[in-house]
Subunit: 413 residues, 2 copies
């Protein structure tokens, strides 16, 4: 294989996370450490993903990151330092002009390497660009670098960004349980957690089970049909045991007829990928419990902080996110293309991860649901095996940098 | 003055905070360090405040806290380790039997010292018990030890627990602003913050102004009448400047007619002290902006985590909370009674706090509002002076103890 020499571009896409900048830092580190074997000359960052790329909004990252301090600060900055987008590329064959103008930009900047950090929708972008360039003559390396708090990408043990969100959820759940325990009157607290299709984040609320025995009384994932009567029975049974019942529920739980539990209180809005915008599952259940059981009830939507709370990021997640970015550069140097970097967990007692590229067309637009053996028989909690799978991902506290009591973040101009 | 020798009891009351256990630890430390000059023999803890006291649910804290490790762990445990209550004592003259049975319990356990850690409602308890014992023959020392995230007690510079909640709010706001900055489409994000009457917590969202210049675009406190048309004008002006508008609003903002902004979407429930239960100010404004301006809007209710997030507690707040507990024991040893321990800020360049007792009857049932000079003329933001007042309170990160990625908390049996 002949060595492809040229410039590279990296972008961030989809929802922000506490770790996506650590992955970007890994990509930059990889280039600076020459893991590509000298194939990459200048590394550009595209502002706001492919949207900014099409407008040639590029920043020279090789020049910008001229010291360890900036890279280290980037690793502890939440959200997406380069900006993000939710742009969906045209279907192949429907708008060749779009792809040709993108390739025109690649040619103009001599870009031969394309790295795209994102989740399911971003892998759709990587897969489409991979397919287009395969059949149209511009030789380049295209790699997807995973990132999603949802942990719902197939072919990988887990995704960068998930561990930090999971840690935020696990820590916050412990604190909420502690808060709810102070009164003696019967009360139900419903914690609504992100996860449109897969229940990984909601499952993380229960990690305490294998650490200190403190966990929500009930946990409902979208992988199981939600039944209101069974739910009321579960809540009544929990209230029999102790007065302060805490329930974790995924925003994405649905009734048997396919309707979302939160549908009654939501707007019906959809995002650019046609996903329904959900909000209000916790509120809907709060009102239902109030009407049916009549005790004190409240709902808490963890909302944005669960994806951007860098101050309680998982040290394991951040270091793995950096490693994933580095692995992408190494693979690129080896000529690997049209792949996503995956994490493979060694089948050993000690937790260990290896990074392997896999064909991105086998990954995009699929969803990895929570394994059957991770959900209990009644469908109202997770199993020990689930907690054991999750635990290594939240280990370590990634204490960032502070200035006058507030976190320091890296912000481009 | 003759020295009063006997046992002591301490309780926690009202809403949980990340620092109320640090104050309890300070009370215990004070006794162990003999700051009372040997007046106190055994220190009891009442479970669930005066409710548990009336049922003689007492725990021997002198015996339980036999090592530094336990005290240190208690200091980093959120909520109220002894449990809390929202019990309102009978009006004086209306139910002497209640007070007599409480005094009966004091006599039974030879309790001569009563410490009650709490906020406004708890100081009402302290004031009533002070008044009752003044006119009925049982000699004892009664002291209020402040705690409230709301910072709304008069006569004191600030309250233990506030600094940690303020830090959580300031840090989370910075992270939310970072998160919201990733897209380029116009979007309004409304962050609803606790504070029924006073806007101190909401003001804390803006501390970044004097640290790194990052703050919400608009800040609305309950100290100013909320006008929907001015609000829309403010939002439109903010959207002219940049696409990602972040707004902090107190749950307690009201219209000129006295109705809460969130009233439309709330339950009308009241707590035991007759305070309206508020929820939904952010949601109400979200719907209003969506209808009026039509851009992407979302609301985030910070909810319980803002009062129990010990993982991002302010080191200054925790150490001052301990100091307040210690000061209570010192005052008790000096025979000070019917007072609350206050914090007085030295009028000097360097931030310094002195602890002084003040007559609790002058404090209970009053509200300290945000100073006029801390709110801008338009009533849609805070001033630099406000941020300068708040900044010292959030300094330092009180990193707690972790075990397998999760915080360690002290839990009595």
């Amino acid at each position: 294989m002949k060595k492809l020499i040229g410039n590279a571009v990296v972008g961030q896409s989809g929802g922000p996370t506490a770790a996506i900048n650590a992955t970007l830092a890994g990509v930059i580190r990889g280039v600076k450490e020459n893991l590509d074997g000298g194939c990459i000359e200048t590394l550009y960052g595209m502002r706001n993903g492919v949207e900014g790329l099409m407008q040639e909004l590029l920043i020279d990252l090789t020049a910008y990151f001229d010291c360890e301090e900036k890279l280290s600060l980037l690793e502890h900055t939440p959200a997406a330092a380069l900006g993000s987008c939710r742009k969906k590329l045209p279907k192949l064959g429907e708008d060749d002009a779009f792809y040709e103008s993108m390739i025109g930009i690649f040619k103009k900047y001599n870009i031969r390497y394309f790295f795209y950090i994102g989740g399911n929708d971003s892998m759709d972008t990587v897969a489409k660009l991979s397919a287009y360039t395969r059949t149209h003559s511009y030789e380049m390396v295209i790699l997807g670098v995973p990132k999603t708090i949802d942990n719902d990408l197939v072919g990988t043990d887990h995704t960068p960004g998930f561990g930090s969100a999971a840690k935020y959820i696990a820590v916050t759940t412990q604190e909420i349980i502690r808060d709810c325990a102070v009164y003696r009157i019967p009360a139900v607290t419903i914690v609504e957690i992100m996860g449109r299709d897969a229940g990984w984040l909601t499952a993380a609320s229960a990690i305490g089970r294998v650490v200190n025995g403190i966990e929500p009384d009930l946990v409902y994932l979208p992988e199981r049909t939600f039944d209101m009567q069974s739910f009321f029975a579960d809540v009544r049974a929990a209230l029999e045991k102790h007065p302060n019942v805490v329930i974790a529920v995924s925003e994405g739980v649905r009734f048997a007829d396919g309707h979302y539990v939160g549908e009654g209180t939501q707007t019906g809005a959809k995002d650019a990928f046609g996903h329904a915008y959900l909000a209000g599952t916790g509120k809907a259940l709060e009102l239902a419990v109030k009407a049916e059981i009549g005790c004190k009830v409240r709902s808490i939507e963890l909302n944005l902080p669960q994806r951007c709370a860098a101050h309680i990021a998982s040290a394991t997640d951040l270091s793995e996110s950096v490693a994933t970015g580095r692995a992408a550069i190494k693979c690129a140097g080896e000529g690997v293309t049209r792949c996503m970097i995956t994490a493979q967990r060694a089948d050993a007692e000690e937790y260990k991860i290896e990074y392997l590229p896999k064909d991105v067309s086998e990954i995009a637009n699929k969803i990895k649901f929570v394994n059957d053996e991770y959900i209990n028989e009644k469908g109202n909690h997770v199993t020990d095996a689930c907690c054991q799978y999750l635990l290594p991902l939240i280990l370590g506290e990634a204490n960032g940098f502070y200035e006058n009591g507030l976190p320091k973040h890296l912000i481009f101009d």
